[in-house]
């Protein structure tokens, strides 16, 4: 459907454009705002892929949680000095070339695999109630990974507190 495609290209362009701006901006706060914009566009793409729950998780956790933390830290560290410094390191050209090479490789792999995976004809049989389906999957098949993830979060929380504490 045409509306669907328009939405996809809108979100895709928004995501890529914001991502490019994020990497190139001098001002970190602007970078963070562009990253937020990318993440929101990605959330839109999730919604379009009928992943409603993930759409909300992306907004609540990523945009509403993680990025707030980023913005918070950026405000705490000194911006004025960082603004006047050189933003890119010495290996920038080499790095850019390397990244492009990597992209070409992955793109090539994609090209090779597209027929085998039947990529242009996705199945359209998502479970009707997305949230319930994810809940079932997490708490039945992926119970152990889920618990491990929670332990990981606990460890990260303790680590962050220890790290950010003023004097150890």
């Amino acid at each position: 459907m045409i509306l669907n495609q328009v939405l996809f290209y809108f979100f895709a362009l928004l995501a890529v454009g914001s991502a490019i701006l994020m990497v190139t901006r001098r001002n970190i706060i602007h970078g963070a705002v562009f990253l937020i914009s990318t993440l929101l566009a990605t959330a839109g793409i999730f919604l379009q892929l009928q992943a409603e729950f993930l759409f909300v998780v992306q907004i609540i956790l990523y945009v509403g949680g993680i990025m707030v933390l980023f913005v918070f830290v950026i405000m705490l560290v000194n911006l004025d000095v960082a603004l006047r410094q050189i933003q890119f390191n010495r290996q920038k050209y080499l790095a850019a070339v390397l990244a492009l090479v990597l992209a070409t490789q992955v793109g090539f792999a994609l090209w090779v695999a597209r027929a085998g995976l039947n990529l242009s004809n996705p199945s359209d049989k998502m479970p009707a109630r997305n949230t319930e389906a994810i809940g079932d999957a997490i708490f039945q098949r992926y119970m152990l990974p889920f618990e491990i993830a929670s332990v990981l979060l606990l460890v990260a929380m303790i680590g962050a507190v220890v790290m950010a504490k003023r004097r150890v």
């Binding site: 705490l76 560290v77 000194n78 004025d80």
Partner: protein, 377 residues
């Protein structure tokens, strides 16, 4: 008020933690034009400095070029929320210099008006202090009662704020018909009103949390800094000039001097609330028995005090208000020096604010009860 050991305050951002925050002179809760330079670590006050003088009018200097009577209205403009008390202090100081005394009727009326003024001043303090801490409502109730007091002043002398109610040697005006009735009615209503304020605040969890343990100052520090008034009494020292060195007609009346032990903001609040009750008590006693007689003692039209000097102080709502007057025998004072309670009490700010949070700073400014007109003169 730059004390020598205040660290030098610069405007650069020091690391991630310390910032300089200029509170005032344009700030909603510095009660006028006080400017407080706060050195903050996060939200915690590391150091502070009060910068004053934005309202300096040279009142003391003006005195040297006015006759004794002419200067009297000027003192009303110092602590403009307690103009009657200022006038009382000045008139009594000059009377002492002249070696006269006001007639008994004048003394009693002076006492009544001054105590009403104390209630009005405390009401204004309570309203704004509560507003600073975020309670929006008490201020309107306080102003409602203050309005009654101001109406009595207006009926008595025509002015509400800067009253110039007294005259050297006694009173300027005879009391109006129904003065006693008005005061009595006010005192009758006021009893319940104070209880009303207390129900709003005294046991409110948030209020207690915001004021208990905030801005603590010990009696020793108060004495060392010269802090007087409710701030001193809330630190546990029972010192009130009305009892210690009675003036006007205070020796005739019974009243308590409320004190509290810890000297935090909550205690100062309790002390002031209790003081309003005691003032009401004094007013009631005084109004029952106003002696008849002249209202003005024998002072000439031109005042020429003998050469000499005098210091006289009264217990103003905010603390000890003293006048030091030097006469050279002419019609104009040679030198007038005012000891304003707000100015001296403000010295305690730095000590109280050490280690407090930004929100506490506001509470502390409020609890000292300063009036910048008096601080800067």
């Amino acid at each position: 008020m730059t004390n020598g050991h205040t660290t030098e305050v610069t405007t650069t951002v020091l690391g991630a933690d310390e910032i300089i925050l200029n509170m005032g002179p344009q700030h909603p809760s510095t009660h006028g034009v006080l400017r407080v330079k706060l050195k903050l670590d996060g939200e915690r006050v590391v150091d502070s400095e009060c910068i004053i003088g934005y309202l300096h009018r040279g009142v003391e200097k003006i005195a040297e070029h006015r006759s004794y009577q002419q200067f009297a209205p000027y003192v009303d403009r110092m602590d403009y929320v307690a103009a009657v008390s200022n006038g009382l202090g000045y008139c009594e100081a000059v009377e002492k210099l002249l070696g006269t005394e006001a007639p008994p009727r004048a003394k009693v009326v002076r006492t009544i008006l001054t105590e009403l003024q104390r209630i009005a001043s405390h009401l204004l303090w309570l309203g704004t202090h509560a507003l600073d801490i975020g309670a929006l409502t008490p201020v309107f109730y306080c102003f409602r009662e203050r309005e009654e007091i101001l109406k009595i002043f207006e009926k008595y002398c025509g002015a509400r704020l800067t009253t110039h109610a007294f005259r050297i040697g006694g009173l300027q005006y005879e009391t109006y018909d129904g003065f006693e009735e008005d005061v009595r009615r006010f005192c009758h209503d006021f009893e319940h009103r104070v209880d009303e304020y207390e129900t709003l605040l005294t046991e409110n969890r948030i209020w207690v949390g915001r004021t208990k343990g905030v801005g603590v100052i010990s009696a020793e520090d108060c004495i060392a800094l010269g802090v007087t008034g409710p701030v001193l009494r809330a630190s546990g020292l029972k010192w009130d000039l009305r009892k210690a060195m009675p003036y006007a007609a205070y020796d005739q009346y019974e009243f308590e001097i409320p004190t509290r032990p810890t000297g935090d903001t909550y205690d100062r609040y309790i002390v002031r609330m209790e003081e309003m009750r005691q003032s009401r008590r004094i007013c009631l006693q005084a109004v029952e028995n106003i002696p008849s007689g002249p209202i003005l003692g024998k002072v000439g039209k031109v005042l020429k005090p003998p050469p000499g000097e005098v210091y006289h102080s009264i217990e103003a709502p905010k603390g000890e208000l003293g006048y030091y007057i030097v006469s050279d025998g002419t019609t104009q004072p040679y030198r007038v020096r005012v000891r304003p309670p707000s100015f001296i009490n403000l010295q305690a700010f730095r000590k109280m604010a050490q280690g407090a949070l930004v929100a506490d700073v506001v509470a502390i400014i409020g609890t000292i009860d300063i009036v910048l007109g008096e601080v800067d003169r």
